[in-house]
């Protein structure tokens, strides 16, 4: 059974600082997604990572994937308050005809001024 773990679960950081969120998963998958969720809102797609060594960057966020280690990271550079949200990683689960996503528990990011 595919399991996805994120850490930390909660991250309080100051504006201007850097930090990394980690996502570990338990079985083979070659598709990993990062989503952002604001309070009371739905999930917004940030990145899709498809292959070992994939790296994608958008603004102050950079995501990478190591399929051998079954690890993805979401790196935040020089955080700003607008990045405050909950971040989820999700891994595509193989099996049958479905392409369901298995989500981590999320990381609540609070950027303090």
């Amino acid at each position: 059974e595919l399991k996805v773990e994120q850490n930390p679960l909660f991250l309080s950081m100051q504006e201007g600082k850097n930090y990394t969120i980690y996502c570990n998963y338990s079985t083979t998958s070659d598709r990993l997604y990062w989503y952002r969720q604001d309070p009371g809102k739905s999930l917004e797609s940030l990145f899709v990572l498809l292959s070992n060594g994939a790296v994608k960057q958008e603004g102050r966020l950079m995501a990478s994937l190591d399929t051998k280690a079954r690890l993805s990271t979401l790196h935040i550079t020089a955080a700003v308050h607008d990045l405050s949200a909950t971040y989820f990683c999700a891994v595509a689960a193989y099996g049958g005809a479905t392409n369901k996503l298995i989500f981590g528990t999320g990381t609540l990011l609070a950027v303090q001024p």
Binding site: Y35, T98, N99
Partner: protein, 116 residues
């Protein structure tokens, strides 16, 4: 173009009532998913449709949960005889391809169900 829409956005039900939650996927999207998100948790898969065919319902928690997509577009998730543990946000997502790499699932705003 419009994204995934869901209605109602909020639903309060008395225990034992039946509810129906609607999802309008992005036009032309073949795949449709339902997820359940409990407070403070990540979404959990409920069921998957490819066009009108329900190909995976392994995540439905009980036989009180039923989903359909009769014409391959709009989908309805029905919960019969609601229980308090059914209280959650129900998210619908759609994607264009079936199984293609990099196929992003686009999520709707969700329906927050509260069972009293």
């Amino acid at each position: 173009g419009a994204g995934v829409s869901q209605s109602p956005r909020y639903k309060v039900a008395k225990r034992g009532q039946d509810v129906a939650l609607r999802c309008d996927p992005i036009s032309g999207h073949v795949s449709l998913f339902w997820y359940q998100q409990a407070l403070g948790q990540g979404p959990e898969f409920l069921t998957y449709f490819q066009n009108e065919a329900q190909l995976d319902k392994s995540g439905l928690p009980s036989d009180r949960f039923f989903a359909e997509r009769p014409e391959g577009s709009v989908s309805t998730l029905k919960i019969q005889r609601t229980q308090q543990e059914d209280s959650a946000v129900y998210l619908c997502a759609s994607s264009f391809y079936t199984g293609a790499q990099g196929d992003t699932q686009y999520f709707g705003p969700g329906t927050r169900l509260t069972v009293l």
